[in-house]
């Protein structure tokens, strides 16, 4: 079980890395780019909820560092965000897992919105990138995508005594 979770985790992290840089066919309208959810953040939340013992602050930070390298963000920005996400999710894990679906979606919305705000502020301060008010869009998309993760979480629940 332990090995299985490790493999699933590695695969999902790899998939999120690829999705992070995958681009639309050339010529697709540019606003579609705003619909991209922060895949890696959602993966981190998911695994912290599903198997908290297999996740850690340092791991989340290192994963964030690779995202920084991919995005050419200031090094450490996503690292700090992911580590904070991991920390917060772990702290409220037992509560969040009891929430009904809509409430979980609300929590995801707030989390992603907060992360986007921090990202934009740091980017505009450190890299002089323009600040955009479109940042709520990824949050909405992430919340709408969460039911899928919720299903998976529900299915993993019966095995909790093994997982935890």
């Amino acid at each position: 079980m332990r090995a299985k979770i490790g493999v699933a985790m590695a695969l999902s992290v790899l998939a999120a890395l690829v999705l992070q840089v995958a681009h639309l066919p050339l010529g697709a309208p540019e606003w579609l780019g705003w619909l991209r959810p922060p895949w890696m953040l959602l993966i981190i939340v998911f695994w912290t909820l599903a198997a908290p013992m297999h996740t850690g602050l340092v791991g989340a930070w290192l994963v964030g560092l690779t995202i920084d390298a991919l995005n050419v963000d200031p090094l450490g920005l996503n690292g700090a965000l992911f580590a904070a996400t991991n920390f917060a999710t772990r702290r409220f894990r037992s509560r969040v897992r009891m929430y009904p679906l809509t409430q979980q979606m609300g929590a995801i919305f707030l989390l992603v919105l907060g992360a986007e705000v921090v990202c934009q502020v740091v980017r505009s301060l450190a890299a002089e990138q323009p600040f955009s008010l479109m940042l709520w869009v990824p949050a909405v998309v992430s919340a709408l995508a969460w039911p899928l993760a919720y299903r998976l979480l529900q299915r993993m629940r019966p095995q909790r005594h093994i997982v935890v």
């Binding site: 992070q20 050419v72 090094l75």
Partner: protein, 264 residues
């Protein structure tokens, strides 16, 4: 948590204010570059599939069309050769140095920056191919951008439409100089700081003026769409349509002009 947060803060500050983290960034860049190839592979597969499935007749027609355009282009380049020789002779008579033709390198775009508002692409040539920071990058029809970061096998190109990018230009018709900067939209640039009295009007072609030392003189940057006064009636707002097909091209040319490796 606190330790990691502090470490991140230190890293972010160092990264924003100094260049000492460049080796770390390069190392990470090499480490993550395979991810770009994985992400690009579906497009390669689709490309390969359409090529394999294309009918013989369609291919023959394509070859025919390419042969014709090749003929036309080689005629133009013969002419250009003669004109260049003549031009250099004239310049010699005037006592100025002859222009050198810059060597170019064809590169394929393998990734796009996925942060909205940031117009950067990753190309499949890097410092081992001679690409350096500051090299100009051209599309088929005009200026595309410039190299801002290199790893041994890849380089990042900042496109002219990024809000942080500016190109010194001149108007072909009048010689009026200005700076064209990106707006964050793929099909619009803006010329900045020109007075309303400047000799520029809709339909003018803007070419790179070589004043910044990055872009060689004469490469087309864009066409003026409209000129209107700003609210103060002192400066003009000049909308420019970029010449290069920024959203559609898959191949770009890197202009390798040796002495521009230094970044300001």
């Amino acid at each position: 948590m606190v330790g990691l947060g502090l470490l991140s803060l230190v890293l972010i500050t160092l990264d924003a204010t100094t260049r000492i983290l460049q080796p770390l960034r390069n190392g990470l860049g090499i480490l993550v570059s395979p991810i770009f190839y994985i992400a690009e592979s579906p497009y390669w597969a689709a490309d390969w599939a359409t090529k394999t499935a294309a009918s013989r007749n369609a291919l023959l027609a394509r070859i025919d069309q390419l042969a014709r355009s090749n003929l036309e282009l080689s005629r133009l380049s013969q002419q250009a050769e003669a004109l260049r020789a003549e031009n250099n002779q004239m310049r010699e008579l005037l006592g100025s140095k002859p222009r050198i033709v810059d060597p170019v390198l064809i590169a394929e775009i393998i990734g796009l920056a996925q942060v909205p508002n940031v117009h950067q692409v990753v190309i499949d040539k890097g410092s081992t191919d001679g690409v350096r920071v500051g090299h100009a990058v051209l599309g088929a029809k005009g200026v595309f951008g410039q190299v801002v970061e290199t790893t041994p096998f890849n380089a990042r190109v900042l496109m002219i439409t990024d809000t942080r990018h500016g190109v010194p230009v001149e108007v072909v018709r009048s010689g009026q100089r200005g700076i064209v900067s990106g707006t964050g939209e793929l099909d619009r640039l803006e010329a900045e700081g020109l007075p309303v009295t400047a000799d520029i009007r809709a339909g003018d072609l803007l070419i790179a003026s070589a004043l910044g030392g990055r872009f060689s003189h004469g490469y087309p940057v864009g066409k003026v769409l409209s000129v209107r006064p700003d609210p103060s009636h002192v400066f003009a707002i000049v909308d420019v349509r970029p010449s290069a097909e920024l959203g559609r091209s898959r191949y770009v040319l890197v202009v390798l002009n040796g002495n521009q490796g230094k970044q300001t």
